[in-house]
Each structure stands twice: as structure tokens, then as C-alpha cells.
Symmetry: C2
Subunit: 108 residues, 2 copies
């Protein structure tokens, strides 16, 4: 009987986790749309892909938000580091593609 109740409770919690994950994926999609625009803008104007001051401000802000929301601030910082690493990797690819394209146009 305890096992059946535990299984039901686990299924209930997993349905909530699935709903939250769907929301997270959709927000991440919007976030990457924004950072793709940032990447294109940086490549166009020659700004470097990474910006340490911006990252420091983001980390400080997210740690505070996390603490207020009852989330371990270390986890929020790790999450942001993961997302920023993906974004910078993407910006570098955009910059490389942009350089390669301008190299090709100079050669022709």
C-alpha cells in the first residue's frame, strides 16, 4: 500500500517536473534567439565574444535572485556558467563564419 502511494506520488511530481521542463526549454529557446542577435551584432561590429564585466554582473544578480527564490545560489551560478559557455561557443562560431565569409569576398 505504501509502495502504491509512493508510486502515485512519484508520478504526480514527475508530471510537474515535465511541465516545468517544457517551460524551461521554451524560455531557453527565446534566450538563444536573443544571444544569436547579440552574436551577430558583436561579429558585425568587431566586439569580442566574451565580456567578463557583463558576466560578473549576471552572476551577482542571479545569485541574489536564486537566494530570494529559495534556490541554491551555487546551482544558479553553475547554470549560468553552463549557458554562457554555450553562448560564447556559439558567438565564436558566428565570428569565424563571418571572418571566413569576408576572407572569401576579399579573394574574389
Amino acid at each position: 500500500m505504501i509502495d502504491e502511494k509512493a508510486t502515485e506520488e512519484l508520478a504526480r511530481l514527475r508530471r510537474s517536473i515535465d511541465n516545468i521542463d517544457a517551460a524551461l526549454v521554451h524560455l531557453l529557446a527565446e534566450r538563444f534567439k536573443c544571444t544569436q542577435q547579440v552574436g551577430a551584432l558583436k561579429a558585425l561590429t568587431g566586439m569580442p565574444p566574451a565580456d567578463k564585466n557583463r558576466e560578473r554582473d549576471q552572476i551577482a544578480r542571479l545569485r541574489t535572485l536564486a537566494t530570494d527564490a529559495g534556490l541554491d545560489p551555487v546551482l544558479a551560478e553553475k547554470f549560468l556558467a553552463f549557458v554562457i559557455a554555450e553562448v560564447i561557443h556559439h558567438h565564436e562560431r558566428i565570428a569565424e563564419a563571418s571572418n571566413a565569409a569576408s576572407g572569401r569576398s576579399r579573394q574574389t
Copy 2:
């Protein structure tokens, strides 16, 4: 002039990124509330912290959601792997604490 416009555009995009990040942190806080309950339930009933079938289903579902939302499915999978690793680490700590507590109660 182009630089001023680019700086303004960058600031505009960063304000959107900051709003999205605040939403992501709050959703992550809710997600970890759910997984903390899952961890406590698993520790109580002796279920193992990790569940490979569940993870496989989650990955397949999030990859589909990501593709529909215009997000790279590889990135969604990496994101889920990051979150699941944190959760399992947390479940293991709960299970260890629970075992240590029951060990202490047997000794007394």
C-alpha cells in the same frame, strides 16, 4: 553613430536576456522543490536515486520540444543532463543523510 546604435541594441537585448534569466531561475527553483520531494520519497522507500528509463524518456521528450521551439536539441539534451546530474547528486546526499540518521538511531 553605428557604434552608438550597436551599443543601444546590445543593451536592449541584454535587458531581455536578464528578464528571461530571472524567469529561468524562478522555474529552476520550482523544479528543485519538486525533485527534493522526489529525493525524499526515494530515500524513504529505498528507490535508487537514478532512473535510466525515466531519463531516456525525458531526453526524447525535451529534444522534440526543443526542435518545435527552434532550439538546438543537442543543447536541450546537454541542459537536461546538467540538471539531472545536479538532482542525482542531491538525491545521493539525501539518501546518505537518511542512512546516517537511521544508523545513529539504531546505535542509540
